[in-house]
């Protein structure tokens, strides 16, 4: 497992992708737009050009996240919140939470949890007046991907992108063997959580809802759903958020089960223990995902994920195709576009 985290030698993106083609599940690719210089922090989930159908219309992408002004800590105002309050609705923190939910509602109007497919050219158009390096990188993306789907920037973008891509992949492929395989993995995750001391009823509803979605994307049952229905469900908060929460439980379970492995990486992200990290940065909804989350989810479910990172960096030589790769699985699969070259 250890060698997985070592950056491998630089590789040409296209040849690498050829290799990936054989081992990766199509569809689970995420392009995360750098958060530092865009007014909206988002990621784009890209569906790979279908090697089988070889038609550009098949792919999608998804944007990730815009974190709300989440900074208001509950005690930050100190006595400032100490007006006379009579009922639940007028508490200081309540007001903050309400404001946050208004911001979320505002955001929700701009972009659904999972948006419609857009051509890569839409992404290029957005950065038309931006850095030429970005445009160059988007061009390279266009050579490998035909479309993007944006996801809402609510901190759950990674998990939601994964949910949609994975379920869409099953719906398209009707791969019963894969469904059986992942169900076995899900059962392992359940046992992991139990052995870590989680109370069954705290997570079982989320597990049940995910398994239900998994069954319904397989055709031929009464509960089978169409592609359109999958999109509708992915946009339905009561379903979508429950599946996101399922992945959060799975991720937390994996990180804690292999806490010795994850500890050094967690230490790079937070000051606390692995358990505290899971409690504060994995389990709560809206907490953004980092490489630790991505690796853990991929390992727990045995599903390869490729992350493509789009930012303004370039090589000293001016090249923009430099990549650093690391794999989350023995099957190489996780992929960052990044500046280190």
């Amino acid at each position: 497992m250890e060698e997985n985290f070592q950056p491998s030698d630089q590789m040409e993106p296209l040849s690498e992708s050829d290799r990936l083609e054989q081992t990766c599940i199509e569809g689970a690719y995420l392009l995360q737009v750098s958060r530092s210089f865009f007014p909206w922090k988002n990621g784009l989930l890209l569906h790979r050009m279908s090697s089988l159908l070889n038609e550009k219309s098949k792919f999608h992408s998804i944007p990730i996240s815009r974190r709300m002004q989440n900074q208001e800590e509950c005690g930050a105002g100190g006595g400032a919140t100490s007006c006379e309050f009579e009922d639940w609705g007028s508490f200081g923190d309540e007001a903050i939470i309400q404001q946050k939910s208004e911001i979320s509602a505002d955001e929700a109007q701009k972009i659904p949890f999972v948006a419609d497919k857009e051509p890569i050219s839409a992404l290029a158009a957005e950065y038309q007046s931006g850095s030429p390096i970005l445009l160059e990188k988007i061009k390279i993306l266009g050579e490998q991907y035909a479309a993007i789907r944006r996801t809402r920037g609510d901190g759950n973008c990674f998990f939601r992108s994964f949910m949609f891509s994975y379920l869409e992949h099953i719906l398209d492929s009707q791969d019963q063997a894969e469904v059986d395989r992942i169900k076995a993995k899900v059962e392992e995750c359940r046992k992991t959580l139990q052995s870590l001391g989680y109370t069954d009823f705290t997570f079982e509803d989320f597990f049940a809802l995910f398994l239900e979605q998994l069954d319904s994307v397989l055709q031929g049952n009464e509960s089978s759903i169409s592609h359109d229905e999958l999109i509708i469900r992915s946009r339905d908060q009561s379903i979508s958020d429950y599946v996101v929460m399922f992945f959060r439980f799975v991720t937390a379970g994996e990180i804690r089960k292999r806490s010795e492995f994850f500890e050094p990486f967690v230490m790079g992200l937070s000051n606390g223990t692995v358990e505290q990290f899971c409690k504060s940065a994995v389990e709560p909804m809206g907490e953004e995902s980092d490489h630790v989350h991505i690796t853990a989810l991929s390992d727990a479910l045995g599903v390869p994920i490729r992350v493509v990172y789009l930012d303004r960096s370039s090589c000293d030589t001016g090249g923009v195709s430099a990549t650093m790769t690391f794999s989350t699985q023995n099957k190489c699969n996780c992929w960052f576009w990044t500046s280190e070259c």
Binding site: G75, F85, F91, Y198, D205, F206, D241, M245, K279, P284
Partner: protein, 157 residues
């Protein structure tokens, strides 16, 4: 709505089953509304709250357990992280660090832990927080103990 009801019902059954598991917490669901709960918690020993019994009120939102329950002290308490007038509690798991892995029961345990380990740097009760921040532990304990006696001790006789 349906999901939150089902979850709360599971918690209710668990509470009934484990009634004696935690003698410091007595969690009770409203007879007619599963979204309203109250709890009686014992002040932790070796704190100024020892000997007191504190009542908490829970209002559970429809989006529970994706969203946290609203909890406040009904019993007056002098504590840096509890609003002196409203009983509002400043505790991360009730705000941004909430996750469905918590239960009403474990929230009560977290509140008891908060009583024993105040966080004076994020105060809702500034007077209380300032005593601790200025190092006047004795002053803080004295005030906290006084309010415990006044508000949280069962009346004798």
């Amino acid at each position: 709505m349906q999901a939150s009801r089902a979850r709360l019902f599971k918690e209710y059954k668990e509470v009934q089953r484990e009634k004696t598991a935690d003698p410091d917490i007595q969690l009770v669901c409203d007879d007619s509304n599963i979204f309203k709960w109250t709890a009686l918690i014992k002040g932790p020993s070796e704190t100024p709250f020892e000997g007191g019994v504190f009542q908490l009120a829970f209002a559970v939102p429809e989006q529970y357990p994706l969203q946290p329950p609203q909890v406040r002290f009904l019993t007056k308490i002098f504590h840096p992280n509890v609003h002196f007038k409203t009983g509002e509690i400043c505790l991360d798991i009730l705000k941004n660090a909430w996750s469905p892995a918590w239960t009403l029961q474990s929230v009560c345990r977290a509140i008891i832990a908060l009583m024993a380990h105040p966080e004076p740097d994020s105060p809702l009760n500034c007077d209380s927080g300032n005593l601790l921040r200025s190092g006047d532990t004795r002053g803080y304990q004295s005030m906290a103990r006084m309010y415990t006696r006044l508000a949280a001790m069962p009346k004798k006789g």
